[in-house]
C-alpha cells in the first residue's frame, strides 16, 4: 500500500523578474518502509519536492496524500502538527538548536508534543545510545563534530516515531567516514524499525544506499529505478 501519493505537483518561484520552475507536474507514490533517494543537479527540484512532502511548503497545484489524507490543503498550524507527529526532518547542516544540549535537542520535539518528563528523558537517552552518542548527551552543538551533530539530528527525527523521515543533503558537510556512518544508521533504522526514508542528495555515497533512486531535472522526474542497496548489511551500523 502506498504511504505517500503525489499527483501533478507544480510549483514555481519568483526570482527577481523571472519565474523559475521548482516542480513541473510531478507524480509519485512512495510505499511504507522504502529508502528512497531523490537525486539530480542543484535546482532540479529535489528540495522543493522534499519540502512539499514534509508539509513545509505547499505546491501551486496538484495533491499530496499522506496515508490517504490530503496534506497540501492543511492550515499552517495543522501542517506544523503533522510535522511534529508524523514526519522527522534532517537537514544539511546547522540542524540543531545551538543553546540546547544534545539530549535537550532530542527531547525538544517530544516536549512540544507533550510527552511526560520521565518518558522523554528515557527515550532521548535510548535514541542517543542508538545513534552511538552515549556519553555525549550534555554536549552543546558547538562542542560536537559535524557527524555527531547529524546523528543527534537523526536521533531527534526518529525519537517521536514518525512514519516518514525526510533528509535534505544530510551528508553534504561530512567527511566520508562520517557520511558512511550516517548512511549505515539510516539503513539500520529503515530495516529494523521500518521507518520510511526519503533523502534528497547529489552525493553518490548516499545514492548507493537507496533501494529506489529517482533522478530529477528541471522539476521533472526523468528516471525512477529500483536498485540493489549497497552498504554494510550488518545490523547496528553506527558505531
Amino acid at each position: 500500500m502506498s504511504s505517500i501519493v503525489c499527483q501533478d505537483l507544480c510549483k514555481t518561484f519568483a526570482q527577481g523578474e523571472e519565474r523559475i520552475t521548482g516542480l513541473d507536474r510531478v507524480s509519485l507514490s512512495i510505499d511504507a518502509g522504502e529508502l528512497l533517494c531523490l537525486s539530480g543537479p542543484s535546482g532540479s527540484g529535489k528540495t522543493t519536492l522534499l519540502n512539499a512532502l514534509g508539509g513545509l511548503d505547499t505546491p501551486d497545484s496538484g495533491s499530496i496524500r499522506l496515508a490517504g489524507r490530503r496534506i497540501d490543503q492543511l492550515s499552517r498550524g495543522a501542517r506544523a502538527d503533522l510535522r511534529l507527529r508524523e514526519i522527522g526532518f534532517v537537514f544539511q547542516a546547522y540542524n540543531l538548536i545551538p543553546v540546547l544540549s544534545a539530549r535537550e535537542n532530542v527531547e525538544f520535539v517530544m516536549q512540544v508534543q507533550g510527552v511526560p518528563v520521565a518518558a522523554r528523558h528515557q527515550r532521548a537517552a535510548a535514541m542517543l545510545a542508538e545513534v552511538g552518542l552515549a556519553g555525549l548527551e550534555n554536549r552543546r552543538p558547538g562542542e560536537m563534530s559535524g557527524g555527531q551533530q547529524q546523528r543527534v539530528a537523526v536521533a531527534r527525527a526518529i525519537a517521536s516515531e514518525p512514519r516518514l523521515v525526510l533528509a535534505d543533503e544530510p551528508t553534504a558537510n561530512l567527511d566520508s567516514h562520517s557520511a558512511t556512518q550516517l548512511m549505515d544508521l539510516f539503513q539500520t533504522l529503515n530495516r529494523d524499525r521500518g521507518v520510511t526514508f526519503v533523502l534528497a542528495t547529489h552525493d553518490p555515497r548516499v545514492m548507493a544506499y537507496a533501494r529506489r533512486l529517482i533522478r530529477m531535472e528541471d522539476g521533472r522526474i526523468i528516471e525512477d529505478i529500483a536498485q540493489q542497496a549497497a552498504g554494510r548489511p550488518s545490523p547496528g551500523g553506527a558505531s
Binding site: 519540502n51 514534509g54 513545509l56 511548503d57 499552517r76 498550524g77 506544523a80 502538527d81 503533522l82 510535522r83 511534529l84 507527529r85 514526519i87 526532518f89 537537514f91 546547522y94 540542524n95 538548536i97 545551538p98 543553546v99 540546547l100 535537550e104 527531547e107 525538544f108 520535539v109 516536549q111 512540544v112 508534543q113 507533550g114 531527534r156
Partner: protein, 410 residues
C-alpha cells in the same frame, strides 16, 4: 495544544545570554528607565503630598462647613449657628477625628505706626489643637488659653510689618453683623512662626468668644473645619456630613475649597503615568531593536523549529517569553536601584536653596520623597504591558517566517 512552558523558559533564558553584551546594555537601559519612573514619581508624590498637607493645615481640615453664601461673600453677616442635633452627632462620630468651629473674618490690624489687612480667626484653642491647625512654632509669649482669651496671636512677619511686639497693644477693626466697623484694642500675647511666610502675614488668632462679643454675635460662627484620618478618603464620609448639615449650609471637601490643591493632585497622578509612558516609549525603540536583531540572527533556527513542528503560536510565545524575561530582570534591577536611592532619602531632601520658589507652590524647604507601592506597581504594569505590546511585532514576524526560506539562510 500543549504548552511546554519549562522548556520554552529554558530556551528563552539561554537565548537571552547568547549576546550577553546586548542583553546587559538593554537591561541597564530598562533598569535606568524603571529607576527614573519610580524615583521621579516618589519625588513628585512627595511634593504634592506636602503641598496638600500644608494646604490642609491652613485651610484647615479636609472639609469645611459654611453658611451657603459665605464663600462668595465672606462676611460675618453670613454666619451660622454652632452645630447641634444631627450635625453635632455626625461631627462627633467616626471616622471624623476632630472638628473646630471658628469665626473667620476679614479685618484690619493697626499699630501706632502701621496697619495691615488680615484674616482674623476667632478660635477655641482646644478644638483647634485637636484639629492640628494651630501654628507649629511659638517664638515668643503664649498660645491663646481659652475661647474667651482677649489677647491676639500674631505671625512674626506681620508683627515686624506692624512694627509691634509682644505685650504691645494693637487695634483690631472688623465689620460687625450690622455692617458697622467695630474696633477694639487687643494685646499681643504671642508671636508665632508658620511654615510659609505668607501664612504669617495672612492669619492672626483671637479668642472666639472675645471676637463674637466684638462683632455682636451670640454663639454663631462662620466656619466649621472637619478632619478625619486620610485626606485621600474624604468622599467616604462627606455625603453623610452634607446630609446632616441641611440645605442652609454648604459642606465642601478640600478639593472644592482649594481647587489648586485638588487639581495638583489630579495632575500629579496623570503626570506620573504620562512620564512613565514617555520613558517607556523611548525605551521601547531599544527593546524592539534588540528583539528584531535577536530574531534576525536566529532566522534559520526559528525556521528549523517550525520545520520540526513547532506551531507559530509557540514561536511567538517563545520570543515574547524572552522579552518578558528581559523586562522582568530590568524591573527587578530598576526597583532595587530605586529603593536603594529612596531609602536613604526618607528623612527628606534639603531644597532650601529654592525655598521661596517652593513657597509659590506651597511647599517647605525639605522634600520628603513618598514611595508609593502604587507607583511601583504602575511602573511594573506600564513596562510589562507596553513591553509585551512592543515585542508583539518582532515576535509575530518570527512566527510568520517561512520555514523554507528561513532554512535556506545561513
Amino acid at each position: 495544544m500543549h504548552w511546554p512552558l519549562m522548556s520554552l523558559l529554558t530556551l528563552a533564558w539561554r537565548n537571552l545570554w547568547r549576546n550577553y553584551r546586548r542583553t546587559l546594555i538593554m537591561l541597564l537601559a530598562i533598569a535606568l528607565g524603571v529607576w527614573a519612573m519610580i524615583v521621579m514619581s516618589a519625588l513628585m508624590r512627595g511634593m504634592t503630598d506636602q503641598m496638600v498637607r500644608n494646604g490642609l493645615a491652613t485651610l484647615p481640615g479636609e472639609a469645611q462647613i459654611h453658611h451657603r453664601d459665605f464663600r462668595l461673600d465672606p462676611s460675618v453677616v453670613n454666619h451660622m449657628p454652632m452645630p447641634a442635633g444631627n450635625l453635632l452627632a455626625q461631627l462627633n462620630s467616626a471616622p471624623i477625628t476632630a472638628w473646630a468651629a471658628r469665626l473667620r473674618v476679614p479685618a484690619v490690624l493697626a499699630s501706632e505706626y502701621a496697619s495691615r489687612g488680615v484674616t482674623v480667626l476667632g478660635i477655641d484653642p482646644a478644638q483647634e489643637a485637636a484639629l492640628g491647625s494651630l501654628p507649629e512654632t511659638l517664638l515668643e509669649g503664649r498660645m491663646l488659653g481659652s475661647p474667651d482669651d482677649r489677647g491676639i496671636l500674631l505671625g512674626a512677619s506681620l508683627a515686624r510689618r506692624l512694627d509691634t511686639g509682644l505685650g504691645k497693644r494693637i487695634v483690631l477693626m472688623s465689620q460687625d453683623t450690622e455692617n458697622n466697623v467695630a474696633d477694639r484694642g487687643v494685646r499681643v500675647v504671642g508671636i508665632y512662626q508658620a511654615r510659609l511666610q505668607g501664612d504669617e502675614e495672612r492669619f492672626a488668632y483671637v479668642g472666639r468668644g472675645a471676637l463674637q462679643e466684638l462683632l455682636g454675635l451670640e454663639q454663631e460662627v462662620t466656619e466649621i473645619a472637619v478632619s478625619a484620618a486620610d485626606y485621600r478618603a474624604v468622599d467616604a464620609w462627606l455625603p453623610a456630613l452634607r446630609a446632616s448639615a441641611g440645605p442652609g449650609l454648604e459642606v465642601l471637601g478640600w478639593t472644592e475649597l482649594h481647587t489648586f490643591l485638588g487639581t495638583m493632585l489630579a495632575v500629579q497622578e496623570g503626570f506620573v503615568l504620562v512620564f512613565m509612558v514617555v520613558v517607556f516609549l523611548v525605551l521601547s525603540f531599544g527593546l524592539i531593536n534588540t528583539l528584531v536583531m535577536a530574531v534576525f540572527e536566529r532566522t534559520r533556527e526559528l525556521g528549523l523549529m517550525q520545520a520540526l513542528g513547532m506551531r507559530p503560536a509557540l514561536i511567538l510565545s517563545q520570543v515574547l517569553l524572552e522579552s518578558l524575561l528581559l523586562l522582568a530582570l530590568g524591573l527587578l534591577a530598576g526597583n532595587g536601584l530605586a529603593l536603594a536611592t529612596l531609602l536613604p532619602l526618607r528623612d527628606g531632601v534639603d531644597i532650601s536653596a529654592v525655598a521661596e520658589g517652593m513657597e509659590m507652590m506651597e511647599m517647605s524647604a525639605t522634600l520628603y520623597p513618598l514611595l508609593a507601592g502604587r507607583d511601583m506597581l504602575l511602573s511594573t504594569a506600564v513596562v510589562l504591558i507596553l513591553g509585551l505590546l512592543a515585542s508583539l511585532l518582532p515576535a509575530w514576524r518570527a512566527s510568520r517566517l517561512d520555514p523554507v526560506r528561513a532554512l535556506a539562510r545561513h
